[in-house]
């Protein structure tokens, strides 16, 4: 008999070695996430995918599925936690959507829309963050970086390079670039690299492409991220 876990009362099968996130996605259940991307090693840092497993909070993207687990995801408490986490991500950076090229295609914004986040709740930090516009084709705006490390992982795991890393601790934590000058132009990053396209927010952008699709006709303008996320997975598996 195949092994199963229960998510919000729904019994779903899983394969040995799958995380809760992988099992949920395969079963068509969306668990909100930002630092997780199925093709990369899970990082478990954004905590948006926090679920309650047998009474304890765990990150669904890193926690292995095990037979008989009772997982709670869409509870009022967890949705509220996720909204608070998203609000914290917003106030810790400088996320001014009306002036950002990524608006409408941004996963941070889309998760916030999905959670019906209407305000920031917390006082804003307005941290000083550096912009690096030195690269001819790629723009790096740390104001919008949520330190998900997807660019770090993409550069190492897909591009065979090592362009990005995260440095510092706490509020001083920031994205650094692997070159003597510390500038993007002096790295081997190319606009075709996976790392240049993986950013869930508008921190890494390809120059001169930002407004090819008008605002109002973008990915999340009319479609929720749960639907987009699950469809993307199912297309990949040829379903």
């Amino acid at each position: 008999m195949s092994k199963t876990i229960t998510i919000d009362g729904k019994v779903i099968p899983f394969e040995e070695g799958q995380t809760i996130m992988e099992a949920a996605t395969a079963a068509g259940i969306y668990i909100p996430h930002l630092c997780h991307q199925p093709e990369f090693t899970p990082h478990g840092s954004c905590k948006l995918c926090t679920v309650k497993v047998n009474g304890r909070n765990c990150s669904a993207c890193t926690f292995p599925a095990m037979d008989g687990q009772d997982v709670l995801s869409e509870t009022e408490e967890l949705i509220d936690d996720r909204r608070k986490i998203t609000q914290m991500l917003f106030v810790e950076g400088n996320h001014l959507c009306p002036g950002c090229e990524k608006t409408g295609n941004c996963q941070l914004q889309a998760v916030a829309y999905h959670l019906n986040m209407l305000d920031n709740h917390f006082p804003l930090f307005y941290p000083d963050r550096e912009v690096d516009a030195s690269h001819p084709d790629v723009m790096l705006d740390r104001n919008r970086c949520i330190l998900c490390t997807l660019c770090v992982r993409a550069s190492q795991q897909k591009d065979g390079k090592n362009v990005f890393a995260v440095s510092g601790r706490g509020i001083h934590k920031h994205l650094i670039v692997n070159s003597d000058s510390g500038l993007l132009k002096d790295t081997d990053l190319e606009a075709t690299d996976r790392a240049a396209h993986i950013c869930p927010t508008g921190a890494i952008l390809i120059k001169r492409t930002g407004y090819r699709v008008p605002i109002g006709e973008r990915i999340y303008d009319h479609k929720e991220i749960d639907q987009v996320s699950l469809e993307a997975e199912h297309v990949k598996h040829g379903e």
Binding site: H95, L96, P98, G99, Y113, L118, P123, H222
Partner: protein, 179 residues
């Protein structure tokens, strides 16, 4: 109708874009006018609000006058609403938060291109600028938030009709935008 719902509106560090969007409810304004009357608002030119049911605040807080107006609204409005991106997170005016105030003023009034008779305005009538632009929830308690730059006319309509008809206001996915 004898007891109309009293609504006050103002723009602090905003561009009046949210007010313009509010006017985009077009002919529905007539329906609204049957149950609502405007107190302090650019529509009426009343200077101070008194005993209102709903206060709509556009824009963040960038100077001392903004703080006074916002507190007046909080004192006089049963329900206070942050309208638009700037009221909610400071918005584009908050881009100056990373630049020391003196540098901002020097750029605008002394060293900027095309400045004639360079002098930083210092008339006693002018409200003093705050060091940084702040969202309004950092200054007073806010009851509801309408995101958007600007919130669409349908957001205003949905929110106000919900309130007026006694429902807990809510915005469906299609009406929630930060841009």
């Amino acid at each position: 109708m004898a007891n109309k719902i009293r609504v006050a509106t103002t723009s602090l560090a905003g561009c009046f874009g949210c007010h313009m969007s509010f006017l985009d409810i077009d002919e529905r304004m007539l329906q609204l006018a049957e149950v609502v009357e405007f107190d302090r608002s650019p529509i009426t030119d009343i200077e101070h609000c008194t005993n209102c049911d709903i206060g709509l605040i556009e824009g963040g807080v960038c100077n001392s006058e903004n703080v006074h107006v916002l507190r007046e609204f909080r004192k006089n409005c049963k329900i206070l609403v942050a309208v638009g991106a700037c009221a909610i997170n400071g918005g584009l005016p908050a881009l100056r938060n990373h630049i020391p105030l003196e540098e901002c003023l020097n750029e605008a009034y002394i060293e900027g291109i095309g400045v004639e008779k360079p002098k930083i305005p210092s008339d006693i009538e002018l409200p003093l600028l705050l060091n940084q632009v702040h969202p309004i929830h950092e200054v007073v308690k806010i009851d509801y938030f309408l995101p958007g730059c600007p919130p669409s006319a349908d957001v205003f309509w949905k929110f106000l009709t919900d309130l007026i008809e006694g429902r807990e206001p809510s915005l469906p996915y299609e009406l929630v935008h930060y841009d």
